[in-house]
Symmetry: C2
Subunit: 321 residues, 2 copies
Protein backbone atom coordinates (compact mmCIF):
# COMPACT_ATOMS: atom_id res chain seq x y z
CA UNK A 1 0.00 0.00 0.00
CA UNK A 2 2.71 2.49 -0.91
CA UNK A 3 2.18 5.32 -3.36
CA UNK A 4 4.48 3.63 -5.80
CA UNK A 5 2.36 0.49 -5.85
CA UNK A 6 -0.76 2.51 -6.42
CA UNK A 7 0.88 4.34 -9.29
CA UNK A 8 2.01 1.09 -10.86
CA UNK A 9 -1.41 -0.40 -10.49
CA UNK A 10 -3.25 2.48 -12.05
CA UNK A 11 -0.79 3.17 -14.82
CA UNK A 12 -0.37 -0.51 -15.64
CA UNK A 13 3.38 -0.08 -15.78
CA UNK A 14 5.61 -2.21 -13.61
CA UNK A 15 4.90 -5.48 -11.85
CA UNK A 16 2.00 -5.76 -9.42
CA UNK A 17 0.71 -8.97 -7.92
CA UNK A 18 -2.89 -9.80 -8.63
CA UNK A 19 -3.75 -9.72 -4.96
CA UNK A 20 -2.45 -6.23 -4.19
CA UNK A 21 -3.77 -5.01 -7.49
CA UNK A 22 -7.28 -5.96 -6.40
CA UNK A 23 -6.82 -4.40 -2.99
CA UNK A 24 -5.61 -1.15 -4.52
CA UNK A 25 -8.53 -0.97 -6.91
CA UNK A 26 -10.94 -1.61 -4.07
CA UNK A 27 -9.39 1.18 -2.04
CA UNK A 28 -9.54 3.50 -5.04
CA UNK A 29 -13.24 2.83 -5.30
CA UNK A 30 -13.86 3.27 -1.62
CA UNK A 31 -11.90 6.50 -1.31
CA UNK A 32 -13.09 7.96 -4.63
CA UNK A 33 -9.45 8.50 -5.37
CA UNK A 34 -8.71 10.59 -8.43
CA UNK A 35 -5.11 11.23 -9.52
CA UNK A 36 -4.22 14.91 -9.71
CA UNK A 37 -3.81 16.03 -13.28
CA UNK A 38 -1.66 18.96 -12.18
CA UNK A 39 0.82 16.78 -10.32
CA UNK A 40 0.99 14.33 -13.16
CA UNK A 41 1.57 17.12 -15.65
CA UNK A 42 4.33 18.53 -13.53
CA UNK A 43 6.04 15.20 -13.31
CA UNK A 44 5.56 13.99 -16.88
CA UNK A 45 5.86 17.41 -18.52
CA UNK A 46 2.74 16.68 -20.53
CA UNK A 47 -0.69 18.07 -19.88
CA UNK A 48 -2.64 15.70 -22.10
CA UNK A 49 -4.32 18.80 -23.41
CA UNK A 50 -4.72 19.98 -26.99
CA UNK A 51 -5.66 23.50 -28.00
CA UNK A 52 -7.83 24.38 -30.99
CA UNK A 53 -7.75 27.76 -32.54
CA UNK A 54 -11.00 28.59 -34.29
CA UNK A 55 -10.56 31.65 -36.50
CA UNK A 56 -14.14 32.75 -35.81
CA UNK A 57 -16.40 30.86 -33.46
CA UNK A 58 -19.39 32.84 -34.69
CA UNK A 59 -18.94 31.30 -38.11
CA UNK A 60 -20.78 27.97 -38.19
CA UNK A 61 -18.46 26.38 -40.75
CA UNK A 62 -15.91 25.88 -38.00
CA UNK A 63 -18.22 23.97 -35.72
CA UNK A 64 -17.74 20.67 -37.54
CA UNK A 65 -14.01 21.26 -37.33
CA UNK A 66 -14.25 21.74 -33.60
CA UNK A 67 -16.30 18.58 -33.25
CA UNK A 68 -13.81 16.63 -35.26
CA UNK A 69 -10.95 17.69 -33.03
CA UNK A 70 -12.94 16.87 -29.91
CA UNK A 71 -13.90 13.48 -31.17
CA UNK A 72 -10.39 12.26 -31.84
CA UNK A 73 -8.78 14.03 -28.90
CA UNK A 74 -11.20 12.59 -26.36
CA UNK A 75 -10.91 9.17 -27.88
CA UNK A 76 -7.19 9.32 -27.27
CA UNK A 77 -7.49 10.69 -23.77
CA UNK A 78 -6.70 14.32 -24.50
CA UNK A 79 -8.74 17.27 -23.26
CA UNK A 80 -9.51 20.12 -25.61
CA UNK A 81 -8.96 23.79 -24.92
CA UNK A 82 -10.89 25.98 -27.34
CA UNK A 83 -9.93 29.52 -28.21
CA UNK A 84 -11.61 31.95 -30.57
CA UNK A 85 -9.72 34.21 -32.94
CA UNK A 86 -12.75 36.46 -33.45
CA UNK A 87 -11.65 37.28 -36.98
CA UNK A 88 -8.90 39.43 -35.55
CA UNK A 89 -5.16 38.98 -35.79
CA UNK A 90 -4.59 40.54 -32.39
CA UNK A 91 -7.17 38.35 -30.68
CA UNK A 92 -5.73 35.32 -32.41
CA UNK A 93 -2.26 36.09 -31.12
CA UNK A 94 -3.60 36.55 -27.63
CA UNK A 95 -5.48 33.28 -27.92
CA UNK A 96 -2.39 31.36 -29.01
CA UNK A 97 -0.35 32.83 -26.19
CA UNK A 98 -3.08 31.78 -23.81
CA UNK A 99 -2.80 28.23 -25.04
CA UNK A 100 0.94 28.30 -24.53
CA UNK A 101 0.55 29.69 -21.02
CA UNK A 102 -1.92 26.92 -20.26
CA UNK A 103 0.75 24.46 -21.32
CA UNK A 104 -1.08 22.58 -24.06
CA UNK A 105 0.90 19.77 -25.64
CA UNK A 106 -0.25 20.67 -29.11
CA UNK A 107 -2.36 23.13 -31.06
CA UNK A 108 -4.63 22.37 -33.98
CA UNK A 109 -5.27 25.20 -36.39
CA UNK A 110 -8.40 25.25 -38.51
CA UNK A 111 -6.61 27.07 -41.29
CA UNK A 112 -3.22 28.52 -42.13
CA UNK A 113 -1.90 30.60 -39.25
CA UNK A 114 -2.11 34.34 -39.67
CA UNK A 115 1.01 34.95 -37.63
CA UNK A 116 3.65 32.54 -38.85
CA UNK A 117 6.37 33.85 -36.57
CA UNK A 118 4.28 33.26 -33.46
CA UNK A 119 3.63 29.71 -34.61
CA UNK A 120 7.34 29.22 -35.12
CA UNK A 121 7.91 30.52 -31.61
CA UNK A 122 5.39 28.06 -30.20
CA UNK A 123 7.00 25.21 -32.09
CA UNK A 124 10.42 26.13 -30.80
CA UNK A 125 8.86 25.98 -27.35
CA UNK A 126 8.15 22.31 -27.89
CA UNK A 127 4.49 22.64 -28.79
CA UNK A 128 3.29 20.67 -31.78
CA UNK A 129 1.35 23.03 -34.02
CA UNK A 130 -0.40 21.60 -37.05
CA UNK A 131 -2.89 22.87 -39.59
CA UNK A 132 -4.52 20.95 -42.43
CA UNK A 133 -1.81 22.08 -44.82
CA UNK A 134 1.12 21.03 -42.65
CA UNK A 135 3.76 19.11 -44.52
CA UNK A 136 1.84 19.17 -47.76
CA UNK A 137 4.16 18.89 -50.70
CA UNK A 138 1.89 20.29 -53.38
CA UNK A 139 0.43 23.52 -52.07
CA UNK A 140 -2.48 23.64 -49.71
CA UNK A 141 -4.48 20.54 -48.91
CA UNK A 142 -7.61 22.54 -48.26
CA UNK A 143 -7.18 24.48 -51.46
CA UNK A 144 -6.67 21.29 -53.44
CA UNK A 145 -9.73 19.61 -51.95
CA UNK A 146 -11.86 22.64 -52.53
CA UNK A 147 -10.56 23.02 -56.03
CA UNK A 148 -12.35 19.87 -57.12
CA UNK A 149 -15.68 21.35 -56.09
CA UNK A 150 -14.90 24.64 -57.77
CA UNK A 151 -13.99 22.85 -60.98
CA UNK A 152 -17.21 20.86 -60.96
CA UNK A 153 -19.23 24.00 -60.36
CA UNK A 154 -17.54 25.86 -63.17
CA UNK A 155 -18.12 22.96 -65.52
CA UNK A 156 -21.79 22.85 -64.61
CA UNK A 157 -22.27 26.58 -65.00
CA UNK A 158 -20.41 26.66 -68.30
CA UNK A 159 -22.49 23.78 -69.58
CA UNK A 160 -25.61 25.79 -68.73
CA UNK A 161 -24.38 28.51 -71.04
CA UNK A 162 -23.10 31.04 -68.53
CA UNK A 163 -20.45 33.28 -70.06
CA UNK A 164 -20.28 36.08 -67.54
CA UNK A 165 -20.31 35.37 -63.82
CA UNK A 166 -19.66 37.35 -60.65
CA UNK A 167 -17.99 36.27 -57.43
CA UNK A 168 -19.62 37.97 -54.44
CA UNK A 169 -17.47 38.35 -51.34
CA UNK A 170 -17.51 40.36 -48.16
CA UNK A 171 -13.98 41.67 -48.57
CA UNK A 172 -11.37 41.85 -51.25
CA UNK A 173 -8.94 39.78 -49.24
CA UNK A 174 -10.15 37.55 -46.45
CA UNK A 175 -7.33 35.43 -45.17
CA UNK A 176 -5.15 32.97 -47.03
CA UNK A 177 -8.05 30.64 -47.73
CA UNK A 178 -10.28 33.31 -49.20
CA UNK A 179 -7.41 34.43 -51.36
CA UNK A 180 -6.80 30.94 -52.64
CA UNK A 181 -10.49 30.46 -53.33
CA UNK A 182 -10.52 33.56 -55.48
CA UNK A 183 -7.42 32.53 -57.39
CA UNK A 184 -8.74 29.03 -57.94
CA UNK A 185 -11.90 30.50 -59.32
CA UNK A 186 -10.02 32.73 -61.72
CA UNK A 187 -8.00 29.80 -62.96
CA UNK A 188 -11.11 27.72 -63.42
CA UNK A 189 -12.90 30.26 -65.57
CA UNK A 190 -9.88 31.21 -67.58
CA UNK A 191 -9.73 29.02 -70.62
CA UNK A 192 -13.41 28.25 -70.48
CA UNK A 193 -14.00 31.55 -72.24
CA UNK A 194 -15.98 32.89 -69.33
CA UNK A 195 -15.63 36.39 -67.91
CA UNK A 196 -15.31 36.56 -64.13
CA UNK A 197 -15.82 39.71 -62.14
CA UNK A 198 -15.94 40.44 -58.47
CA UNK A 199 -18.55 42.17 -56.33
CA UNK A 200 -17.36 43.32 -52.93
CA UNK A 201 -20.14 43.73 -50.43
CA UNK A 202 -18.05 45.14 -47.58
CA UNK A 203 -19.79 45.96 -44.35
CA UNK A 204 -23.03 46.78 -46.10
CA UNK A 205 -25.89 44.92 -44.48
CA UNK A 206 -29.06 46.59 -45.68
CA UNK A 207 -30.79 44.53 -48.37
CA UNK A 208 -31.36 47.58 -50.58
CA UNK A 209 -27.65 48.39 -50.61
CA UNK A 210 -26.68 44.85 -51.54
CA UNK A 211 -29.55 44.79 -53.99
CA UNK A 212 -28.20 47.90 -55.69
CA UNK A 213 -24.80 46.31 -56.13
CA UNK A 214 -26.32 43.19 -57.65
CA UNK A 215 -28.78 45.10 -59.76
CA UNK A 216 -25.92 46.95 -61.41
CA UNK A 217 -24.27 43.76 -62.68
CA UNK A 218 -27.37 41.72 -63.45
CA UNK A 219 -29.38 44.37 -65.26
CA UNK A 220 -27.13 45.98 -67.82
CA UNK A 221 -25.97 45.31 -71.34
CA UNK A 222 -23.96 42.09 -71.28
CA UNK A 223 -25.16 41.22 -67.80
CA UNK A 224 -23.81 38.68 -65.39
CA UNK A 225 -25.97 35.56 -65.50
CA UNK A 226 -24.64 33.72 -62.47
CA UNK A 227 -23.62 34.75 -58.97
CA UNK A 228 -21.16 32.82 -56.83
CA UNK A 229 -21.44 33.53 -53.14
CA UNK A 230 -18.01 33.28 -51.50
CA UNK A 231 -19.09 31.96 -48.11
CA UNK A 232 -22.06 30.32 -46.55
CA UNK A 233 -22.30 33.10 -43.99
CA UNK A 234 -22.74 35.69 -46.70
CA UNK A 235 -25.58 33.80 -48.38
CA UNK A 236 -28.52 35.06 -46.27
CA UNK A 237 -27.36 38.63 -46.72
CA UNK A 238 -27.04 38.16 -50.45
CA UNK A 239 -30.42 36.48 -50.71
CA UNK A 240 -32.09 39.41 -49.00
CA UNK A 241 -30.34 41.73 -51.40
CA UNK A 242 -31.53 39.74 -54.39
CA UNK A 243 -35.03 39.93 -53.06
CA UNK A 244 -34.80 43.66 -52.49
CA UNK A 245 -33.67 44.12 -56.07
CA UNK A 246 -36.45 41.81 -57.27
CA UNK A 247 -33.93 39.55 -58.97
CA UNK A 248 -35.51 36.20 -59.69
CA UNK A 249 -33.34 33.15 -59.00
CA UNK A 250 -32.68 31.34 -61.26
CA UNK A 251 -34.88 33.16 -63.80
CA UNK A 252 -32.88 36.37 -63.94
CA UNK A 253 -29.67 34.98 -62.55
CA UNK A 254 -28.33 31.67 -61.24
CA UNK A 255 -26.83 31.38 -57.77
CA UNK A 256 -24.24 29.11 -56.19
CA UNK A 257 -22.81 29.37 -52.71
CA UNK A 258 -19.83 27.85 -50.98
CA UNK A 259 -20.82 25.81 -47.95
CA UNK A 260 -23.88 23.65 -47.49
CA UNK A 261 -26.53 23.52 -44.75
CA UNK A 262 -30.09 22.44 -44.22
CA UNK A 263 -31.15 26.02 -44.78
CA UNK A 264 -29.54 26.13 -48.20
CA UNK A 265 -31.47 23.01 -49.06
CA UNK A 266 -34.74 24.32 -47.60
CA UNK A 267 -34.56 27.67 -49.34
CA UNK A 268 -36.83 28.31 -52.24
CA UNK A 269 -35.35 27.85 -54.72
CA UNK A 270 -33.08 25.25 -53.12
CA UNK A 271 -29.53 26.54 -53.39
CA UNK A 272 -26.85 24.86 -55.44
CA UNK A 273 -23.70 24.63 -53.35
CA UNK A 274 -20.06 23.67 -53.29
CA UNK A 275 -20.13 21.37 -50.27
CA UNK A 276 -17.18 20.67 -48.06
CA UNK A 277 -17.22 19.47 -44.49
CA UNK A 278 -14.35 20.29 -42.18
CA UNK A 279 -15.22 17.49 -39.73
CA UNK A 280 -13.13 14.88 -41.47
CA UNK A 281 -10.33 17.33 -42.03
CA UNK A 282 -10.22 17.97 -38.30
CA UNK A 283 -10.24 14.26 -37.56
CA UNK A 284 -7.30 13.69 -39.87
CA UNK A 285 -5.25 16.61 -38.58
CA UNK A 286 -5.88 15.77 -34.94
CA UNK A 287 -4.94 12.16 -35.52
CA UNK A 288 -1.63 13.39 -36.93
CA UNK A 289 -1.11 15.73 -34.02
CA UNK A 290 -1.57 12.93 -31.55
CA UNK A 291 0.67 10.68 -33.58
CA UNK A 292 3.35 13.34 -33.19
CA UNK A 293 2.79 13.50 -29.46
CA UNK A 294 2.61 9.80 -28.80
CA UNK A 295 5.43 9.05 -31.18
CA UNK A 296 3.35 7.03 -33.59
CA UNK A 297 3.45 7.20 -37.33
CA UNK A 298 1.49 9.99 -38.96
CA UNK A 299 -1.79 8.64 -40.23
CA UNK A 300 -2.59 8.51 -43.90
CA UNK A 301 -5.99 10.03 -43.19
CA UNK A 302 -5.27 13.34 -44.83
CA UNK A 303 -4.39 11.65 -48.09
CA UNK A 304 -7.78 9.93 -48.11
CA UNK A 305 -9.94 12.99 -47.51
CA UNK A 306 -12.85 13.39 -49.85
CA UNK A 307 -12.67 16.50 -52.02
CA UNK A 308 -15.35 19.17 -52.11
CA UNK A 309 -18.18 18.49 -54.51
CA UNK A 310 -20.72 20.52 -56.40
CA UNK A 311 -24.34 19.88 -55.48
CA UNK A 312 -26.65 21.26 -58.15
CA UNK A 313 -30.10 22.23 -56.96
CA UNK A 314 -32.74 24.62 -58.18
CA UNK A 315 -30.85 27.88 -57.99
CA UNK A 316 -28.77 27.12 -61.07
CA UNK A 317 -30.40 27.01 -64.47
CA UNK A 318 -29.59 27.80 -68.06
CA UNK A 319 -28.31 31.30 -68.72
CA UNK A 320 -30.71 33.77 -70.24
CA UNK A 321 -30.09 34.22 -73.92
Amino acid sequence: VSTATVSRTLSGRGPVSEATRARVLRAVQALQYLPSAAARSLRTQRTMTIGVLVPDLANPVFIPFLRGVQHVAHERGYAVLVVDGQRSLAVEQLALRRLRAQGVDAIVLAGPARDASLVAELRSGGIVVLDPDFGEARGSLLARLERAGTDAMCDALAALGHRRVAYVARERVSGALGQRRWHAMRDCWRGRGVTLERVIVGERRAPVEIGGLIDAVVRRPEPVTALICATHGLAPTLLRGLRAAAVDVPGDCSLVTYGDSEWAEAYRPALSVVAFDLYEVAVAVTADVIAHLDGGLPSQARALLRPARFVPRESTAAARA
Copy 2:
Protein backbone atom coordinates in the same frame (compact mmCIF):
# COMPACT_ATOMS: atom_id res chain seq x y z
CA VAL B 1 17.60 36.65 -7.94
CA SER B 2 16.04 33.77 -6.02
CA THR B 3 12.97 31.91 -7.22
CA ALA B 4 11.01 33.42 -4.36
CA THR B 5 11.76 36.93 -5.53
CA VAL B 6 10.77 36.11 -9.06
CA SER B 7 7.51 34.66 -7.83
CA ARG B 8 6.78 37.75 -5.75
CA THR B 9 7.57 40.01 -8.65
CA LEU B 10 5.38 38.25 -11.15
CA SER B 11 2.48 37.57 -8.83
CA GLY B 12 2.59 41.06 -7.36
CA ARG B 13 2.26 39.62 -3.87
CA GLY B 14 4.86 40.42 -1.30
CA PRO B 15 7.37 43.24 -1.14
CA VAL B 16 9.84 43.74 -3.97
CA SER B 17 12.10 46.72 -4.40
CA GLU B 18 11.69 48.69 -7.56
CA ALA B 19 15.26 47.98 -8.61
CA THR B 20 15.10 44.18 -8.38
CA ARG B 21 11.63 44.24 -9.84
CA ALA B 22 12.99 45.83 -12.99
CA ARG B 23 15.90 43.42 -13.13
CA VAL B 24 13.59 40.43 -12.83
CA LEU B 25 11.28 41.67 -15.54
CA ARG B 26 14.22 42.24 -17.84
CA ALA B 27 15.48 38.73 -17.24
CA VAL B 28 12.01 37.34 -17.85
CA GLN B 29 11.98 39.07 -21.21
CA ALA B 30 15.45 37.94 -22.13
CA LEU B 31 14.93 34.31 -21.15
CA GLN B 32 11.40 34.08 -22.53
CA TYR B 33 10.48 32.75 -19.13
CA LEU B 34 6.96 31.36 -18.80
CA PRO B 35 5.72 30.07 -15.45
CA SER B 36 4.56 26.45 -15.52
CA ALA B 37 0.81 26.23 -15.22
CA ALA B 38 1.07 22.66 -13.96
CA ALA B 39 3.40 23.54 -11.11
CA ARG B 40 1.29 26.51 -10.16
CA SER B 41 -1.85 24.38 -10.19
CA LEU B 42 -0.18 21.80 -8.01
CA ARG B 43 0.86 24.40 -5.52
CA THR B 44 -2.27 26.57 -5.47
CA GLN B 45 -4.75 23.75 -5.98
CA ARG B 46 -6.44 25.76 -8.67
CA THR B 47 -6.12 25.20 -12.39
CA MET B 48 -7.63 28.49 -13.53
CA THR B 49 -9.67 26.39 -15.88
CA ILE B 50 -13.43 26.32 -16.40
CA GLY B 51 -15.31 23.55 -18.16
CA VAL B 52 -18.38 24.09 -20.33
CA LEU B 53 -20.77 21.30 -21.05
CA VAL B 54 -22.61 21.86 -24.30
CA PRO B 55 -25.55 19.45 -24.57
CA ASP B 56 -25.10 19.20 -28.34
CA LEU B 57 -22.31 20.96 -30.17
CA ALA B 58 -23.95 20.21 -33.49
CA ASN B 59 -26.85 22.42 -32.47
CA PRO B 60 -26.03 26.02 -33.38
CA VAL B 61 -28.13 27.54 -30.60
CA PHE B 62 -25.38 26.62 -28.15
CA ILE B 63 -22.64 28.42 -30.00
CA PRO B 64 -23.53 31.84 -28.60
CA PHE B 65 -23.56 30.24 -25.16
CA LEU B 66 -20.08 28.89 -25.71
CA ARG B 67 -18.89 32.27 -26.89
CA GLY B 68 -20.36 33.97 -23.87
CA VAL B 69 -18.54 31.64 -21.50
CA GLN B 70 -15.28 32.12 -23.38
CA HIS B 71 -15.59 35.85 -23.36
CA VAL B 72 -15.98 36.22 -19.63
CA ALA B 73 -13.63 33.41 -18.69
CA HIS B 74 -10.77 34.71 -20.78
CA GLU B 75 -11.36 38.23 -19.54
CA ARG B 76 -10.87 36.95 -16.02
CA GLY B 77 -7.85 34.83 -16.83
CA TYR B 78 -9.51 31.45 -16.97
CA ALA B 79 -9.05 28.94 -19.75
CA VAL B 80 -12.05 27.09 -21.13
CA LEU B 81 -12.34 23.36 -21.58
CA VAL B 82 -15.22 22.45 -23.88
CA VAL B 83 -17.00 19.13 -23.82
CA ASP B 84 -19.88 17.92 -25.95
CA GLY B 85 -22.81 15.93 -24.59
CA GLN B 86 -23.80 14.78 -28.08
CA ARG B 87 -27.46 14.64 -27.04
CA SER B 88 -26.69 11.55 -25.02
CA LEU B 89 -26.87 11.04 -21.29
CA ALA B 90 -24.01 8.55 -21.30
CA VAL B 91 -21.75 10.83 -23.31
CA GLU B 92 -22.65 13.71 -21.05
CA GLN B 93 -21.67 11.75 -17.96
CA LEU B 94 -18.40 10.78 -19.55
CA ALA B 95 -17.79 14.38 -20.51
CA LEU B 96 -18.39 15.65 -16.99
CA ARG B 97 -16.08 13.03 -15.53
CA ARG B 98 -13.47 14.08 -18.02
CA LEU B 99 -13.73 17.64 -16.77
CA ARG B 100 -13.32 16.45 -13.21
CA ALA B 101 -10.31 14.36 -14.11
CA GLN B 102 -8.80 17.37 -15.85
CA GLY B 103 -9.21 19.26 -12.59
CA VAL B 104 -11.35 22.18 -13.73
CA ASP B 105 -12.18 24.67 -11.00
CA ALA B 106 -15.75 25.05 -12.16
CA ILE B 107 -18.24 23.82 -14.72
CA VAL B 108 -20.81 25.87 -16.56
CA LEU B 109 -23.83 24.03 -17.84
CA ALA B 110 -25.86 25.37 -20.74
CA GLY B 111 -29.04 23.90 -19.34
CA PRO B 112 -30.31 21.88 -16.40
CA ALA B 113 -28.09 18.85 -15.81
CA ARG B 114 -29.47 15.53 -16.95
CA ASP B 115 -27.71 13.62 -14.20
CA ALA B 116 -28.32 15.50 -10.97
CA SER B 117 -26.51 12.98 -8.79
CA LEU B 118 -23.32 13.27 -10.81
CA VAL B 119 -23.48 17.03 -10.48
CA ALA B 120 -23.92 16.66 -6.74
CA GLU B 121 -20.88 14.40 -6.71
CA LEU B 122 -18.82 16.98 -8.55
CA ARG B 123 -19.95 19.70 -6.19
CA SER B 124 -19.00 17.61 -3.18
CA GLY B 125 -15.61 17.26 -4.83
CA GLY B 126 -15.19 21.01 -4.54
CA ILE B 127 -16.04 21.89 -8.12
CA VAL B 128 -18.38 24.82 -8.61
CA VAL B 129 -21.13 23.70 -10.98
CA LEU B 130 -23.65 26.26 -12.15
CA ASP B 131 -26.37 26.39 -14.74
CA PRO B 132 -28.57 29.35 -15.67
CA ASP B 133 -31.25 28.20 -13.25
CA PHE B 134 -28.93 27.83 -10.27
CA GLY B 135 -30.30 29.40 -7.14
CA GLU B 136 -33.42 30.69 -8.83
CA ALA B 137 -36.22 31.09 -6.38
CA ARG B 138 -39.14 31.06 -8.78
CA GLY B 139 -38.67 28.12 -11.11
CA SER B 140 -36.36 28.18 -14.07
CA LEU B 141 -34.74 31.40 -15.23
CA LEU B 142 -34.55 30.21 -18.81
CA ALA B 143 -38.19 29.13 -18.74
CA ARG B 144 -39.25 32.46 -17.32
CA LEU B 145 -37.32 34.46 -19.88
CA GLU B 146 -38.62 32.38 -22.72
CA ARG B 147 -42.12 32.61 -21.38
CA ALA B 148 -42.30 36.30 -22.23
CA GLY B 149 -41.62 35.54 -25.89
CA THR B 150 -44.13 32.72 -25.92
CA ASP B 151 -46.76 34.97 -24.42
CA ALA B 152 -46.14 37.68 -26.99
CA MET B 153 -46.34 35.17 -29.80
CA CYS B 154 -49.60 33.72 -28.52
CA ASP B 155 -51.08 37.19 -28.21
CA ALA B 156 -50.09 38.04 -31.76
CA LEU B 157 -51.44 34.81 -33.18
CA ALA B 158 -54.69 35.10 -31.26
CA ALA B 159 -55.10 38.67 -32.45
CA LEU B 160 -54.75 37.43 -36.01
CA GLY B 161 -57.74 35.19 -35.44
CA HIS B 162 -56.00 31.83 -35.00
CA ARG B 163 -58.15 29.45 -32.97
CA ARG B 164 -56.45 26.15 -33.65
CA VAL B 165 -52.67 25.84 -33.68
CA ALA B 166 -50.19 22.98 -33.74
CA TYR B 167 -46.82 22.69 -32.00
CA VAL B 168 -44.36 20.77 -34.15
CA ALA B 169 -41.53 19.02 -32.34
CA ARG B 170 -38.99 16.34 -33.05
CA GLU B 171 -39.82 14.28 -29.97
CA ARG B 172 -42.52 14.12 -27.39
CA VAL B 173 -40.08 14.87 -24.59
CA SER B 174 -36.77 16.50 -25.34
CA GLY B 175 -35.04 17.39 -22.10
CA ALA B 176 -36.20 19.56 -19.25
CA LEU B 177 -36.21 22.67 -21.39
CA GLY B 178 -38.31 21.21 -24.17
CA GLN B 179 -40.73 19.94 -21.60
CA ARG B 180 -41.05 23.36 -20.04
CA ARG B 181 -41.50 24.99 -23.42
CA TRP B 182 -44.39 22.68 -24.16
CA HIS B 183 -46.04 23.31 -20.81
CA ALA B 184 -45.61 27.06 -21.14
CA MET B 185 -47.25 26.90 -24.50
CA ARG B 186 -50.21 24.96 -23.17
CA ASP B 187 -50.65 27.46 -20.37
CA CYS B 188 -50.48 30.34 -22.81
CA TRP B 189 -53.18 29.04 -25.09
CA ARG B 190 -55.46 27.89 -22.34
CA GLY B 191 -57.80 30.69 -21.45
CA ARG B 192 -57.39 32.32 -24.83
CA GLY B 193 -59.95 29.91 -26.18
CA VAL B 194 -57.46 28.42 -28.59
CA THR B 195 -57.04 24.72 -29.23
CA LEU B 196 -53.44 23.47 -29.16
CA GLU B 197 -52.34 20.16 -30.58
CA ARG B 198 -49.00 18.55 -31.06
CA VAL B 199 -47.33 17.08 -34.14
CA ILE B 200 -44.38 14.80 -33.47
CA VAL B 201 -42.02 14.51 -36.38
CA GLY B 202 -39.72 11.90 -34.85
CA GLU B 203 -36.79 10.71 -36.91
CA ARG B 204 -38.62 11.32 -40.16
CA ARG B 205 -36.49 13.36 -42.50
CA ALA B 206 -38.03 12.97 -45.95
CA PRO B 207 -40.01 16.07 -46.93
CA VAL B 208 -42.94 13.98 -48.17
CA GLU B 209 -43.27 12.25 -44.83
CA ILE B 210 -43.24 15.52 -42.91
CA GLY B 211 -45.52 16.99 -45.55
CA GLY B 212 -48.00 14.19 -44.98
CA LEU B 213 -48.09 14.87 -41.25
CA ILE B 214 -48.68 18.57 -41.82
CA ASP B 215 -51.16 18.03 -44.61
CA ALA B 216 -53.30 15.97 -42.25
CA VAL B 217 -53.73 18.80 -39.76
CA VAL B 218 -53.84 21.73 -42.18
CA ARG B 219 -56.26 20.31 -44.71
CA ARG B 220 -59.21 18.89 -42.86
CA PRO B 221 -62.44 20.13 -41.41
CA GLU B 222 -61.59 22.52 -38.60
CA PRO B 223 -57.96 22.76 -39.71
CA VAL B 224 -55.00 24.12 -37.85
CA THR B 225 -54.22 27.63 -39.10
CA ALA B 226 -50.84 28.17 -37.48
CA LEU B 227 -47.77 26.01 -36.93
CA ILE B 228 -45.25 26.58 -34.16
CA CYS B 229 -41.87 25.03 -34.79
CA ALA B 230 -40.32 23.90 -31.51
CA THR B 231 -36.67 24.51 -32.36
CA HIS B 232 -34.66 26.41 -34.88
CA GLY B 233 -32.94 23.24 -35.96
CA LEU B 234 -36.23 21.67 -36.94
CA ALA B 235 -37.27 24.62 -39.10
CA PRO B 236 -35.50 23.69 -42.35
CA THR B 237 -36.91 20.18 -42.17
CA LEU B 238 -40.38 21.52 -41.55
CA LEU B 239 -40.12 24.05 -44.35
CA ARG B 240 -39.21 21.33 -46.82
CA GLY B 241 -42.18 19.34 -45.63
CA LEU B 242 -44.50 22.29 -46.11
CA ARG B 243 -43.21 22.71 -49.59
CA ALA B 244 -43.64 19.03 -50.40
CA ALA B 245 -47.23 19.25 -49.24
CA ALA B 246 -47.72 22.44 -51.23
CA VAL B 247 -48.81 24.32 -48.13
CA ASP B 248 -48.57 28.04 -48.72
CA VAL B 249 -47.16 30.11 -45.88
CA PRO B 250 -48.83 32.19 -44.64
CA GLY B 251 -51.74 31.78 -47.11
CA ASP B 252 -52.78 28.30 -46.02
CA CYS B 253 -51.12 28.37 -42.65
CA SER B 254 -49.02 30.73 -40.54
CA LEU B 255 -45.64 29.68 -39.19
CA VAL B 256 -43.56 30.67 -36.18
CA THR B 257 -40.32 29.12 -35.05
CA TYR B 258 -38.32 29.28 -31.85
CA GLY B 259 -34.84 30.64 -32.42
CA ASP B 260 -33.74 33.33 -34.83
CA SER B 261 -31.01 33.45 -37.47
CA GLU B 262 -30.12 35.26 -40.65
CA TRP B 263 -31.59 32.37 -42.59
CA ALA B 264 -34.95 32.74 -40.89
CA GLU B 265 -34.89 36.37 -41.90
CA ALA B 266 -33.76 35.65 -45.44
CA TYR B 267 -36.33 32.96 -46.08
CA ARG B 268 -39.25 33.76 -48.30
CA PRO B 269 -41.56 34.44 -46.62
CA ALA B 270 -39.38 35.80 -43.83
CA LEU B 271 -40.06 33.72 -40.73
CA SER B 272 -41.65 35.11 -37.61
CA VAL B 273 -39.67 33.93 -34.61
CA VAL B 274 -39.43 33.82 -30.87
CA ALA B 275 -35.91 35.18 -30.47
CA PHE B 276 -33.68 34.43 -27.55
CA ASP B 277 -29.92 34.61 -27.44
CA LEU B 278 -27.96 32.50 -25.00
CA TYR B 279 -24.86 34.67 -25.23
CA GLU B 280 -25.89 37.01 -22.45
CA VAL B 281 -27.14 34.14 -20.36
CA ALA B 282 -23.72 32.55 -20.60
CA VAL B 283 -22.03 35.81 -19.71
CA ALA B 284 -24.16 36.15 -16.61
CA VAL B 285 -23.72 32.57 -15.45
CA THR B 286 -19.98 32.57 -16.04
CA ALA B 287 -19.61 35.83 -14.15
CA ASP B 288 -21.37 34.19 -11.21
CA VAL B 289 -19.18 31.12 -11.46
CA ILE B 290 -16.05 33.22 -11.31
CA ALA B 291 -17.47 35.24 -8.46
CA HIS B 292 -17.84 31.95 -6.57
CA LEU B 293 -14.27 30.98 -7.36
CA ASP B 294 -12.68 34.31 -6.60
CA GLY B 295 -14.81 34.89 -3.58
CA GLY B 296 -16.57 37.94 -4.96
CA LEU B 297 -20.23 38.72 -4.68
CA PRO B 298 -22.49 37.04 -7.21
CA SER B 299 -23.30 39.49 -9.96
CA GLN B 300 -26.79 40.77 -10.51
CA ALA B 301 -26.43 40.09 -14.23
CA ARG B 302 -28.90 37.24 -14.31
CA ALA B 303 -31.61 39.42 -12.87
CA LEU B 304 -31.12 41.92 -15.66
CA LEU B 305 -31.28 39.50 -18.58
CA ARG B 306 -33.57 40.52 -21.38
CA PRO B 307 -36.47 38.16 -21.92
CA ALA B 308 -37.22 36.42 -25.19
CA ARG B 309 -39.28 38.44 -27.62
CA PHE B 310 -41.59 37.73 -30.50
CA VAL B 311 -40.43 39.05 -33.87
CA PRO B 312 -43.32 39.10 -36.33
CA ARG B 313 -42.34 38.81 -39.97
CA GLU B 314 -44.08 37.63 -43.10
CA SER B 315 -44.81 34.06 -42.14
CA THR B 316 -47.64 35.01 -39.79
CA ALA B 317 -50.84 36.45 -41.15
CA ALA B 318 -54.53 36.45 -40.39
CA ALA B 319 -56.12 33.03 -40.07
CA ARG B 320 -58.20 31.80 -42.95
CA ALA B 321 -61.88 32.18 -42.28
